[in-house]
């Protein structure tokens, strides 16, 4: 796995990776990918594909409002709030 790919993945995940760690991470990720390759080799022709490990169906919720306003509680420990808003560094696009 090349450094460029690792830096791209790290950027997408908002992770900062020091240059001297890149080799270590590359070899760890390669091990994971090798494992996936190994699994890909297993014959699954008779296995039904699944998107979830539990063989269950989603329970649905009635369309009812059951949450009260708890803004004060949620914002109590957050200094970056004002007048009920959350404040973040300016981002415009």
């Amino acid at each position: 796995m090349d450094k460029k790919t690792i830096i791209k993945i790290a950027n997408l995940a908002k992770l900062e990776i020091k240059d001297d760690k890149l080799n270590d991470i590359a070899s760890s990720l390669e091990k994971i990918l090798n494992l996936v390759d190994e699994m890909n080799g297993v014959n699954t022709d008779d296995v039904t594909p699944m998107s979830h490990p539990l063989n269950l169906k989603q329970e649905l919720r009635k369309d009812e409002v059951k949450e009260a306003n708890q803004r004060d509680l949620f914002q109590k420990d957050n200094e970056n709030t004002d007048n009920g808003y959350y404040k973040v560094p300016k981002i415009i696009d």
Partner: protein, 476 residues
């Protein structure tokens, strides 16, 4: 030289009471962050639970466009970082969306064209970033986070801005007929992204596309697409290449510009959301929804043509809005009112005043019952249509009813034959010379006599009746 190829992604907010994965309210315009609960905020340890109504609404839409409804639909995480997306991912659908396929017809220059729909999937809306509240910071309101959306993705089958707008209008009309969205574009309940590329005339190879994000009015969609077609054809004419990118339409400058920050983020690393199980949709549920479908716009258009013999223009205006079509039908129901006259009244008089105040049918100060009464008085010639327009304005502005105004203003037309006969006799007697001239072939003088009778009746004489009486009496 170039043929535009356009596809639209339309985001429709579903009008459920609570959010798609949490029981917080979806009301628009509440105080900032008062409707963002722990689930919407992405607090640790919370679990999303899917709203039954949102699923039903998506199915309803799917059935209306003749799509397949998946009986094993799954949810996926779409990963990206943005401050108005607290979890760092949006719960959406990637593989196996709830609605696949289907189509909708549009009419362009009198020709019907079918636009195929690729898919429609359920997802949650993000919060809102407000950039102009603080000089150096962005304010975040998460009330909208978690509001249910369906994203409707069309095939790239539209060839012009006009086709795209017509398609958008038809979908807008459809979701409102179905009652699954208020379609309010100002409030962002209905917005779209447009994918545009140009293809060499006669070629089959698609060009590189640009995506224009978040356009929220029909006019802007048209302008944005036309602008983008021009921009790309200028680039291609110069022998350069169009860059694949996301662009933003700026209505104040009527131009699109590149959104640089989106370039990197376009790698969403979708994967099935482990917090949500596959959704099973039974054929019984589908049948239940099918049997409760309202009449859809295309069916209603055909019926209006057959039942009321109206022209396409009138039908289009009346049926694009479900409430307006019902207002029309209730006005005419149980009466012998002429359909075309009633349609004209609603399209010219009613809509003129409604558009001036920018109000919807439910806010009309003149109820269909009151309009029915007014128009019946016109049809039976109690008042003239000119008087009716004045009466209507008073009804609209002061909330008075038709009968009250007509009676209290002494507006009733004189349709009493005896009374009119007497007046006509008098006039003939006093204008003997003109009568002679008329009888010698000066037909134009009829207008003079009508005018005399009108003067005598202070404008209240029934003109049709006056004409008839005069013609008979002047012959003698």
């Amino acid at each position: 030289m170039w043929d535009p190829v356009i596809g639209l992604e339309i985001h429709v907010q579903l009008n459920t009471k609570s959010k798609i994965f949490s029981p917080a309210s979806t009301d628009f315009g509440s105080d900032q962050n008062t409707q963002a609960c722990a689930i919407d905020l992405g607090m640790p340890g919370v679990l999303p639970v899917l709203n039954e109504e949102a699923v039903k609404m998506a199915i309803k839409f799917g059935l209306a466009i003749g799509a397949n409804i998946s009986d094993n639909s799954i949810f996926a995480r779409k990963n990206y970082f943005y401050p108005d997306l607290p979890k760092g991912y949006q719960i959406s659908q990637y593989e196996i969306p709830i609605v696949e396929g289907g189509s909708i017809n549009i009419i362009i220059d009198g020709q019907t064209k079918t636009i195929n729909i690729t898919r429609a999937h359920l997802e949650e809306d993000a919060g809102k970033s407000i950039h102009d509240l603080y000089p150096n910071e962005t304010a975040i309101d998460l009330n909208r986070a978690g509001t249910p959306l369906i994203e409707i993705v069309s095939e790239p089958e539209m060839k012009s801005a006009a086709e795209a707008v017509q398609y958008l209008k038809n979908i807008h009309s459809l979701v409102r007929y179905l009652g699954i969205s208020d379609g309010n574009m100002q409030e962002g309940s209905f917005r779209c992204d447009a994918n545009i590329s140009l293809m060499k005339k006669g070629s089959e190879v698609l060009g590189t596309r640009a995506e224009i994000k978040n356009i929220n009015s029909f006019k802007f969609v048209e302008n944005a697409i036309n602008h983008e077609i021009q921009r790309q054809s200028d680039i291609l004419d110069n022998g350069d290449n169009v860059k694949q990118e996301t662009r933003l339409y700026d209505p104040s400058k009527d131009e699109t510009r590149s959104m640089r920050s989106k370039e990197e983020a376009n790698d969403y690393r979708y994967f099935p959301d482990p917090d949500l199980l596959p959704v099973s949709i039974t054929s019984k549920l589908i049948e239940d929804i099918k049997s409760n479908m309202p009449e859809l716009p295309s069916t209603k258009k055909d019926r209006f043509k057959a039942q009321y013999k109206l022209n396409d223009y009138d039908i289009d205006i009346l049926t694009n809005n479900r409430e307006l079509s019902e207002y029309f039908e209730k006005t005419i129901e149980g009466t012998d009112l002429n359909a075309k006259t009633t349609a004209n009244w609603i399209i010219t008089e009613v809509l003129a005043l409604a558009n001036k105040k920018n109000i919807g049918v439910s806010e009309y100060p003149v109820s269909y019952k009151n309009l029915k009464n007014l128009l019946s008085n016109v049809q039976s010639e109690v008042i003239s249509s000119k008087q009716a327009k004045d009466v209507f304005e008073r009804m609209w502005n002061n909330g008075e009813d038709a009968q009250y105004i007509i009676e209290n203003e002494g507006m009733k037309q004189i349709s009493d034959t005896d009374e009119l006969n007497k007046i006509v006799d008098n006039i003939i007697k006093n204008n003997y010379k003109s009568v002679e001239e008329y009888q010698n072939g000066k037909d134009k003088l009829l207008g003079f006599f009508v005018g005399q009778v009108m003067k005598e009746t202070k404008g209240k004489g029934n003109p049709k009746l006056i004409n008839e009486i005069l013609k008979v009496k002047l012959k003698k």
